[in-house]
């Protein structure tokens, strides 16, 4: 098992990296061919990044295979077992899939200069988180203030607030997996059962956020970017973000990248993803949380040093089956 994210408990989200992120102008041009497996996500913004890299490097031939992240991870492992040449790079929208490939021994160590630009909590030997997203509690601002929201996710179902959630949503299931890791199965199942009696289900987390905005529920559970995007398009939206402290309710998950060979073009390509320009673009357009220095977080996130994410090995989040079993036992799925 590769080392996972270990954001220090009750410590600020961000710490100082060993090195500053570089500008794309400081990188060597990409020359040659590279095959990338790209987990689908972010509505095409990753594609814009890749197109820009290709446009900037006319002697670089990028082949892309796209698909659901988990499926691509399984394909990579299967191709390796069959002796078939797979990708040079895997860019996954969630770190659980990264763990699946790493556990198969397929990820190559990354050069130190590449990972040193990341905050210390996000530096790993064989993969690099590209950008982050955080679990939040969007709430209806007409009736509530942030101080009214429990800062302990485990006590949320004991409150008198009306709740909304999307149990079938992949990010929610990763959050439940993190809760299992942090609190154990029994406590998690109890939490699910208590929530199930109180929470209104939605198909997706945007639906949860919109329900909170309408006042249909007081509080929801969702990734941060839905609320930020809604507020971007609707500045008077009656919803804001609250955060729990040091529990799965404020889990920071990440998209991630790993190298399947140690060719120089492979590492150089990955370096492009950590330039100030790409990190800024993903923060600005996709509302993702940059994990390098000198790049501002997306507008609308509270000061990051007020957020205290839990210590969780994100690569363990690929272990979904026990989570799904638990959710079914709790009557949630």
């Amino acid at each position: 098992m590769i080392k996972g994210i270990a954001a220090a408990a009750a410590s600020p989200l961000l710490t100082t990296p060993l090195a500053r992120a570089v500008s794309v102008d400081d990188l060597d041009p990409l020359v040659g061919e590279l095959t990338l497996y790209l987990g689908r996500g972010e509505g095409g913004l990753y594609e814009n990044v890749l197109e820009a890299i290709e446009k900037r490097n006319p002697d670089f031939n990028l082949k892309i295979r796209r698909g659901p992240t988990a499926a691509l991870a399984n394909v990579i492992v299967a191709e390796a077992e069959a002796g078939v040449k797979g990708p040079d790079v895997f860019w996954a929208v969630d770190s659980g899939a990264i763990g699946l490939v790493s556990d198969a021994g397929l990820a190559k160590p990354l050069p130190a200069d590449l990972t040193d630009v990341l905050q210390e909590e996000f530096q790993f030997e064989r993969w690099a988180p590209v950008t982050g997203r955080i679990r939040t509690l969007p709430f209806h601002t007409v009736r509530l203030q942030a101080a009214d929201i429990p800062d302990n996710i485990m006590t949320l179902p004991d409150s008198d607030l009306s709740l909304g959630w999307a149990p079938a949503y992949a990010s929610f299931q990763s959050f439940v997996t993190a809760m299992r890791i942090l609190q154990g199965d029994a406590e998690t199942q109890d939490w699910l059962q208590r929530m199930e009696k109180r929470a209104k289900p939605f198909a997706g987390e945007l639906g949860v956020v919109m329900a909170a905005e309408r006042g249909e529920v007081d509080v929801g559970l969702a990734n941060h970017y839905y609320t930020l995007r809604l507020k971007s398009g609707k500045p008077d939206a009656r919803v804001d973000l609250a955060f729990t402290r040091n529990d799965a309710g404020c889990l920071v998950n990440a998209s991630g990248v790993l190298a399947l060979n140690d060719n120089e073009v492979t590492f150089n390509f990955i370096r492009y993803l950590f330039t100030t320009q790409v990190q800024s673009y993903l923060a600005r357009e996709a509302y993702e949380i940059p994990l390098v220095s000198d790049v501002n977080p997306p507008d609308g996130l509270p000061p990051l040093d007020t957020i205290s994410p839990p210590k969780v090995d994100l690569t363990l989040l690929a272990d979904l089956k026990p989570t799904l079993d638990l959710m079914r036992n709790a009557g949630v799925l």
Partner: protein, 277 residues
């Protein structure tokens, strides 16, 4: 470059890979796919020009079989007519899969027509009503044969290349795929496969629409909310409540209009988006 697989057509026992649509015109309506070696769809869909005579013979035969059933109903009544055979006859012809992989909206209409004749006979409707249903079915079958002939020409000219791609490369393509999936939903509903139809709706929402609605909500939150309701309430409810095919089609057409509006908004947003470098 894309290379992705998908599984389709449980009803025909076939696994298939969709062709990527070559022309913009065909992107919204026509699509084709490979047939697996063991699949019941058959290789004929990959060489439709060579099979047009067969398709034509099948359509003529099928219309004749339906006519026999309706004549029998007129002369001897429902039991002698055995109207359930219209579905068996339809499933027996190769043309069935040719139209399904090329023009799913008409495929849905054929099923609607088949059940229109069958149900009218089973309910003992006046012969004039049954003949009206028969006429609608015949018109749809001829229209479908025409669509397959056009698709065959495009296929022959290499405009339906067999690039394996069911995973769209962009939000705009995603919207096109969503519309195709909605057409397929209607087809399955018209086939009386309600659970499969609802499964397609749910899968389309979670795996396609959900991935682009974050971008859309920045452009038009009300539009996204309306589509949220359509995907999660209106369409599943219309199917579960057993509404007519025309009523379900109306829901889907309304959703497709909204998706077209989404496409416009996303194009505008893309044009205004800042550069990466």
């Amino acid at each position: 470059m894309s290379f992705t697989t998908d599984t389709t057509r449980a009803a025909l026992n076939g696994r298939a890979l969709f062709f990527k649509i070559a022309s913009v015109f065909f992107a919204s309506a026509f699509f084709s796919h490979h047939a697996a070696a063991s699949g019941a769809i058959g290789d004929h869909v990959n060489d439709m020009s060579a099979n047009l005579d067969n398709y034509t013979e099948e359509v003529v035969w099928l219309i004749g079989q339906v006519d026999v059933i309706v004549d029998t109903y007129e002369n001897e009544g429902t039991k002698a007519a055995a109207p359930e055979a219209v579905v068996d006859h339809w499933e027996a012809v190769d043309f069935h899969s040719a139209i399904e992989v090329n023009y799913i909206p008409l495929y849905a209409s054929i099923w609607q027509g088949l059940f229109g004749v069958r149900v009218a006979i089973e309910e003992g409707a006046p012969i004039v009503v049954v003949r009206a249903e028969q006429d609608k079915l015949e018109q749809t079958l001829w229209q479908s044969l025409g669509a397959v002939k056009v698709a065959a020409q495009y296929q022959e000219r290499g405009l339906l290349p067999d690039v394996e791609a069911t995973t769209p490369d962009s939000p705009i393509e995603t919207l096109d795929v969503i519309k195709q999936r909605l057409d397929r939903t209607l087809a399955k509903y018209a086939e009386k496969l309600d659970d499969e139809a609802i499964g397609i709706v749910q899968d389309t929402y979670l795996n396609l629409f959900e991935g682009i609605e974050g971008m859309l909500i920045e452009q038009d939150a009300d539009l996204v909310e309306s589509l949220e309701i359509d995907f999660n309430v209106a369409l599943p409810k219309a199917i579960q409540d057993g509404e007519s095919v025309d009523e379900v089609r109306a829901v889907i057409e309304g959703m497709k209009d909204k998706l077209d509006r989404c496409k416009t908004l996303l194009k505008e947003a893309q044009e205004q988006r800042s550069d990466v470098f």
